[in-house]
Every structure is written in structure tokens, then in C-alpha cells.
Subunit: 321 residues, 2 copies
Amino acid sequence: MTDNSPRTVRDLGEFALIERMNAGRSYGPGVLVGPGDDAAVIAAPAGRYVVSTDMLVQDRHFRLDWSRPEHIGAKAIAQNAADVVAMGAAPSAFVVSLGCPADTAVDFVDGLVDGMWAEADRAGAAIAGGDVVHSPQVVISVTAFGDPREHSVLRSGASPGDVVAVAGRLGWSAAGLAVFTTGANRDAFPEVVAAHRVPQPDYAAVLELPATAAVTAMTDISDGLLADLGHIAESSTVRIDVDAAAVADPALRPVAEALGAEALSWILTGGEDHAFAATFRAGTPLPAGWRRVGRVCSGSGVTVDGASWAGAPGWESFVDG
Amino acid sequence: MTDNSPRTVRDLGEFALIERMNAGRSYGPGVLVGPGDDAAVIAAPAGRYVVSTDMLVQDRHFRLDWSRPEHIGAKAIAQNAADVVAMGAAPSAFVVSLGCPADTAVDFVDGLVDGMWAEADRAGAAIAGGDVVHSPQVVISVTAFGDPREHSVLRSGASPGDVVAVAGRLGWSAAGLAVFTTGANRDAFPEVVAAHRVPQPDYAAVLELPATAAVTAMTDISDGLLADLGHIAESSTVRIDVDAAAVADPALRPVAEALGAEALSWILTGGEDHAFAATFRAGTPLPAGWRRVGRVCSGSGVTVDGASWAGAPGWESFVDG
């Protein structure tokens, strides 16, 4: 059987590849000029827009033998969308730069782009443009845009007495990573493996917050609960105390037991689940999707049941691990 | 003499590095929320904004032995700013992601960031945020934003009879690249070597176009004059004929003679100078900074003095070269 279809991006060429990446996509009313010119034009009905950008590098942020291209694409979009949503903004568009070797299979790029669009859809926005370049390994850079509410929700508004709450899972991605790195049977723990491959930020928990919700500060958890609450504590000049019993997750217990690991450590320091953490003014009811995990006190830093946490608080880019 | 100052990004750590990159910078009124939260917030007074993104990879788009870090940073910003300006928009902000090895010298990052800010200043905008990650070689991804005029200048508006004009140098970067690749004496040709290291787009030639200038289509020249005019020809369904005598540049002649090369080939197919090419309605005077290089005809494709150009029209990402 003969197959003359192009198999690698070198066979296809840059311009045909870009055309293929954009074929059949629809951009929605927020993308005023889409791919095909020097730049895209995006609507900003509020007269301002929220921007976040993240780079993902092969073997550092994903592995081609652990994840399908659809997973990698979805993860790249999700982690950027989560940053925009954590500002209290609704995702409006994404732009994506892709670096890859010339012998990358076109099928790989197809899967990657499909995964990106699937997650962009879930976040309610389109991919408005990008760039493809030649690089020794796969590198993905995503910039996400959002339409802000009247007031952006910063990290700096927490006050002593506020309730700390979380929307979304904690420690699942770290548990999945542990399954991969220890060589444990992936099929035995499909939920955490899936959570590591593709985070599923609960965008709706933030975007559907009622106007009456007294949110004082918010962030997404990308470096680990303690590290990211640390950013709120520092920006707001407060201490945050986490309630270990409140963050415990029975679903992680069998994984931790099988791996001889500590589920609490995954929960407190594992990044990449892209749950949202926020502080709410005391005495206001927590909105749907949110659960209480601690409280804001005077002081500085983050504590767990009143004491310092002994381990590293979370991810750091230039440390091996 | 003992020096305990951190020398590599691993020594310094991610968060201290980001703090150092942002120290002492001022952001201007268009950056409503700058670095330090989940996302930046940028003003869009027109109710919409222009976006362009490009990735630069070490040894593909720049070489550490050919360019100083200041050059690389300036080039990364310039090529993105040029795309925004080519839409007829004034640069308003940039975000930057940087991937680099853990043993990258902090001095290198300092130089890179200084070069970025210098060119961002020249383009009239600030760097509002970004990301730093660990990667096997230096990768820079820039996203540039701009405030559009009333109407964006697309590639699709050229009509037969229009005059084709250029603002900025053509072929200088390609001549500089030829000096590097042939091992010629760099000191003998400092202008083209400098042009290869850092393009100097003539932003003002576009941003100060009088309201009466009858521009029908515009692009920046990043892939080569023929390739980029080809994008206008295709989008506008016209043919563009380039006048070889009009694009000739006596300054390139001594370089071409010394290298046994063809200056016209650099001029027609060399990318990276980020000159601007535009079409103007016939009979309107060319504004300051612009020179006539050809005309728009009916038909398709790009010709030189009425004939097809025999060589490749310009840069293609997945072809070695």
C-alpha cells in the first residue's frame, strides 16, 4: 500500500502546516481579525484586557511517552486559561507559538492543535493566531486573554478573618506524576494519571461567582497550594493557615498507600491541578463549587494547622525534579 | 577576591530572577496591572487590540557566539513590534516568556532583558509580564500588543494600479548573515553585521503616516520582500511587480563583491530587516520615509521586472538553512 500523504512537518512546510492548523476553525465574535495577517485583532469591550503567558518545554513540562498530543495541547491551554480566570476574567482568545523538530509527525501537530481547541472551547474562547518555528524539541508558548469584570481580583486583597477556600482538586496531578515516576501500574490509578496529563480547571466555579460573593483575593494553584497561598499572603501582608483535615482527599489514599507516599504532601505542594484558591470575607456563604480549607490571620507566611510546613512549598523552575 | 553574587539562574532561583528582571522598570499608563499577579491587565482604549506572537530559538534564530544578549533581546521585541505596527497599530505592551538552561549566567539574562526594554522603549511600550522556565537551550517567546487606528491595515486591500513602497532597509540583515556564515571579516562590514544582530524597524514611518496617506495594504518584511509581497498579492488577488533598479542599494555592493555574492538576492529574499512594505493608491504622494519599489498589476504572484524570480522567495521554517 502506497501512502503519499505528508508525514512530517518538513514534508508539509510551514505555510501548509499553518493552513492545516487553522482549517475549519470558527473564531466567534471576539476575534475581529483571525490568522492570516501580520497580527490578530481582538475585541476588548471593557476597554481593557487581561493577559497571561506560559511556556511548556518537552521533558520538563510534559513527556511524549506519558501524554498523547491531545493531552499536551489541552494542558497548555488550561494552565493559561486558569491564570486569566484567576483574575476574575472570562477567557476571550489565545495565541499559540509552537516550536518543533522538522521530523515531527503531522499527526502529532494535528493532535496537539485539536487538544488546544478542545480546551479553548471548554474555556469559552478561540485560538486567534500564532507562530510555528523549528526547534530541537517541542516547545509551546501560549498567551491567554480575558475580559475582566468591573474589578480584577488580585492577590493583594486578603484580610485577617477571611475564609480561605478552594475550587477544584488538589494533589491529583502530583499523585499522577508519582505513578509515572515510580513506574507503578498506570492502569491501576486512571483518575490521577488523567489528572496529571490534563488538568481540568473548574472555570465555572469562578466565572459564575455571584456578584454578592465577597471574594477578596484569588489565584490559581500552579506551583502548589502552599506556594500559591504564599503569594496571596505576601501580596496581602497576612498569614494564611491551612486546615490539614479540610484539604484531605480520601480519593488519594489508595494511591498514596500503593506508592508508600504521603497524600498530604501532594495536596499541599503539588502544582498543575490548576484549582482556584480564594479568600472570602468571613460570614458570607461560600458559593457553589467552593470548599473551606483555611483562614487568613495576621502575620506572614503560610502555616498548616498553625505550624510551619517542613518540606518545599512547591515547584521551582530551575531546581531539578 | 571573593565574589558571592549569584552567577547562574539556578543559583538565583526562579522568583528572584523574575524580581530582578522587573526591578526598577516603569510601565506607563497603558499597563493597568503589571508583573506580580496571575495575569497583567492592559488598557485597550479603542475597545479592541492588535496581537502578534513570535518564538525565537537559539541556533535557529540567533547564535550566542554571533550576538550579545542585548542584541538578541532587542531583536525579539523588534520583530514582534514590527508585526503590530504593520497592522497600523501603535505598540502598547509586550509579554515575554524565556526558557533557558539552569546554568545560564544571570549576566546573560540581564543583558537580554535590557535589550528587550531598550527596543520596547523605542517602540513606545513596556514589558508587562511573562514567564521563565527551564529549557535545554534559550527560547524566547514574545507577544506584542497594539492600539489600532480606526481601521486596521490588512494585507488584502491592494488593487491594480497601486504603488508598492518600502520604508526601511532591505537585504542588510541577509548580507550580515552572509558575513557570519562565510567567515568573512566582521569588522570590515560593521553596518550589515549590526543590521543582522538587531533589526531597526522604522516604526515612525508607519505610525506617523498622515491620515491622508492612501495606504491600501501593508505588511512587515520578515520572510523576504518577494515572500511577504506574495502574501499581499495572494490576500488581495493581484500581481505585484518589483522594479529591480528601484530596490538596488549601493551600500550592499562592496559586501557582495567581497563575498562573491549577489546583492539583489539578499534584497529580494532576505528576511529579518523588518522593513515595512505597503501599497498606496496611485497618484497620491508617498509620505516621508517611503520609497517606490514596484506596482500592483492584475494577475497573481510576484514578479521582478515582469519576470518570475528563479530562486526561493524567502525564509521557510522547516527547511535547513
